[in-house]
């Protein structure tokens, strides 16, 4: 996991309350719209996102910076790598 002091979130997406594949599709949309190097945080209450989003990052070649469990939701942070 990256040092959380070493990045600034460019955009935060609140996908809490949406179900699989909602948070991941919102992230894919945001990454597509972002510039290379931008950091996107997704807030999710969907347990599938904890698994799906890191796998998507590995597959799509973007950098997973953090998966934080914050009580009633998760915060997943991704840097657009290309």
């Amino acid at each position: 996991m990256a040092d959380t002091t070493k990045y600034t979130v460019t955009r935060e997406i609140d996908a809490r309350g949406t179900y699989c594949p909602g948070p991941m599709m919102e992230l894919i949309r945001a990454v597509r719209e972002a510039q290379v190097g931008d950091v996107i945080a997704v807030l999710s209450t969907d347990s599938g996102s904890q698994r799906d989003i890191p796998q998507w990052c590995a597959k799509a070649g973007h950098e997973l910076l953090e998966v934080a469990h914050l009580g009633d939701h998760d915060r997943i942070v991704v840097r657009k790598a290309h």
Binding site: Y19, P21, M24, M25, R29, R32, K59, A60
Partner: protein, 146 residues
């Protein structure tokens, strides 16, 4: 009949083909969700709507709107209560098409049988193809049927 959009997929990309046959939302939701999963995996996804699924995918689906399979009996109300929290299956499929390499086709035979034109269908459809042609193009990947 036009087969526009039904080209041989790129060899470097995994290919998923989905045949949507059933016209009930309990089977149309997986079509939308698995297509989204395909997009997340950078796959090309071709979806072939035939028979009841195609009737349910009309701009005006008539009695096929939100129909749940009788297989579920009294549980169908329970299913409705749960999917009320989700975007519609059409919204899922449209979003997947917008974000990925997704192509939605209408079955030529069903179109003829029910005297349908592309204008009768949801705007996500890009063309009409025959079953044989669809299967020919699907040979390089997996095929799911709903």
């Amino acid at each position: 009949m036009s087969a526009e959009g039904l080209q041989h997929p790129m060899a470097d990309k995994h290919h998923l083909s989905i045949i949507a046959f059933s016209g009930t939302v309990d089977r149309l939701y997986p079509v939308g969700i698995l297509t989204s999963g395909g997009v997340a995996n950078d796959m090309r996804v071709d979806v072939f709507f035939t028979f009841w699924a195609l009737l349910a995918a009309r701009r005006d689906p008539g009695p096929f709107r939100d129909r749940v399979s009788l297989d579920y009996g009294s549980d169908s109300d329970d299913f409705r209560r749960h999917y009320a929290n989700l975007p519609s299956w059409r919204a899922l499929l449209s979003q997947a098409k917008e974000l990925g390499d997704v192509h939605v086709h209408a079955c030529a035979m069903t179109m003829d049988l029910f005297h349908l034109s592309l204008d009768d269908l949801d705007p996500m459809f890009e063309g009409v193809v025959g079953a044989g042609e669809f299967l020919d193009r699907a040979q390089d990947g997996q095929i799911l049927v709903f």
